[in-house]
């Protein structure tokens, strides 16, 4: 099809924190500068920029993308901002991939930033207006309601209990102890999860990722440029993205079909026929405990309803056969929405290069997948990477 091969050649990130004192563009600058430094490039080497940042309502600033461009190194450069809710963090590098794979540009800096702490008393309030204004908003819904309902439907369909799902939080928060950017890494037990405050049954406090501030950046380069920059390029071999209808009540919430569509697209591009065998390491989006399992199924890393068994058997531990969220995920590292998704791409990049430090999974993995999810439980964004 005349597509060029594209590699990730550098990554940078800020620490994920409850509240950063930096402005959004300062956060974006820190992550972007670190990403460029990591591959010894300067801004002059960057042809274009893609920015991912979630709702303007978090910052209370319309044109948040435009305010971010200075910090993202996009001053007087071709720049594109994109937003699909929580799916943004993997959508942004897909947009970067378009720019380079198409032949239009040789390099692209991808920046994802989120600062949720500005929105008081709680950023959850900013989400009221994502619901249908006529049929849903008058009932004052909030995101945690619909995720609790999705979790409930998933549990009901496969006969799962809270105990089957809680170990996701235990695993991810523990993995995050080794992540230098982590916000809420800790050693906890399944009982801690079950005994934590109920927010919206069946979702408890420890089932859910925090609100966070933070930024992540990666550098993309076309093959001929990438090989000059690094001897350890990580290739973007497949991308996929799909959205389901916003009529979320008329879908069966037990399975994320939109993710299967996105994953099939990415796998086909990467020549992957049996994802459960060919994917060595996965970073599915885990803003809630059950979502890691839900997304493993949508990514076809196991059959429908089978993810809890893999979790129970230790397969998804960092030293298991299929390490899942070795970074610590959103549950452990934190969830600055768009930045969280790009953190997952950065994790696969570091893992495939063997640069994940204490988080490094054994067995020299060659193929990994990162995925994000968002809006009204309707977006799947997927990236397959190889070294």
């Amino acid at each position: 099809m005349g597509r060029r091969r594209v590699a990730i050649v550098g990554a940078g990130m800020t620490k994920f924190v409850r509240r950063a004192l930096e402005t959004p563009k300062e956060l974006a600058y820190e992550a972007s500068k670190m990403a460029l430094d990591s591959c010894e490039l300067s801004l002059a080497d960057i042809d274009c920029v893609t920015i991912g940042t979630a709702p303007d309502a978090f910052d209370g600033v319309h044109m948040n993308g435009e305010f971010l461009i200075d910090g993202s190194g996009a001053y007087r450069k071709p720049v594109m901002r994109n937003y699909v809710g929580g799916g943004t963090g993997v959508y942004a590098p897909i947009h970067g991939w378009f720019h380079v794979a198409s032949g239009m540009f040789d390099t692209c800096l991808v920046v994802a930033e989120e600062k949720m702490s500005s929105c008081q008393p709680h950023p959850a309030g900013a989400f009221l207006t994502i619901f249908d204004h006529t049929t849903e908003q008058p009932l004052y819904p909030t995101l945690i309601w619909i995720f609790a309902m999705e979790m409930h439907r998933y549990m009901h369909t496969y006969g799962l209990t809270k105990k089957d799902i809680a170990p996701v939080a235990v695993k991810n928060k523990k993995n995050a102890l080794d992540h230098p950017a982590a916000q809420i890494a800790e050693e906890i037990t399944v009982e801690d999860v079950l005994n934590s405050e109920v927010l919206a049954h069946p979702v408890h406090r420890l089932d859910i990722s925090p609100t966070s501030d933070g930024a992540v950046a990666v550098v993309l380069a076309a093959e001929h440029v990438a090989r000059r920059i690094t001897d350890k390029p990580v290739w973007i071999d497949g991308v996929g993205y799909a959205l389901d209808t916003a009529y979320w009540c008329t879908r069966d919430l037990c399975y994320p079909e939109y993710l299967e569509v996105a994953a099939r697209q990415a796998y086909e591009m990467a020549g992957i026929r049996e994802p459960h065998k060919e994917i060595h390491i996965a970073e599915p989006y885990d803003p809630f405990t059950y979502k890691e399992l839900h997304h493993m199924e949508g990514l076809m890393l196991c059959g429908k309803g089978e993810a809890p068994r893999l979790l129970a058997d230790g397969v998804t531990q960092r030293d298991g056969n299929l390490p899942v969220c070795p970074s610590g995920g959103l549950l452990g590292v934190g969830n600055p929405i768009a930045a969280a998704g790009l953190m997952k791409v950065a994790e696969i990049f570091l893992q495939l290069r063997g640069e994940a430090g204490k988080r490094q999974v054994p067995g020299r993995p060659t193929t990994g997948v990162a995925q994000a999810w968002g809006d009204l439980m309707q977006v799947g964004t997927v990236m397959v990477m190889r070294r």
Partner: protein, 174 residues
Amino acid sequence: MEITTDVLKKTATPLSSKHLSQGKVFTASCKPNLVYAWDDGVAIGRYLKELKRGRIMAKRCRQCNRIMLPPRMFCERCWRITDEWVPVKDTGKVNTFAISHVDWAAGRIPKGQRYFTPAVIEIDGASKGMGILHLIDEVKPEKIFIGMPVKAVWRPEAERVGAITDIKYFRPIG
């Protein structure tokens, strides 16, 4: 280059309502007078008018044969204009639900006040899986179950305005 703690020097900084009230942080707030005059559209417009009359109307797509709720002017699957209006019942089954201890802005519900019990309700007469978001009441939250049959509790006719809230909530039946 590995990303290590040395490279990430920031620490978390707490922010509470006290910081705001004591003026410890810069804040700006405004209450813009933004009123949105949303048009209901072809399908939802009729849906709301019918709710005011005390009935739920769905729309059929003859190609996929779904009887759809909420009603659509066009079928998103078949990508064509939908066909006839179909009256459906005001009863249904709980497809899934939550017991929420928080309100829309993540505020905790005060002690003694009923938890929110939102549900997806599959309406009888619509195609399988065609649900709407609404609230459940007149039952203890812990007694609600997936599959529970429920019925709409309507506002008195004089109080109805042509809105989803013309149904106050759904209550268990049977």
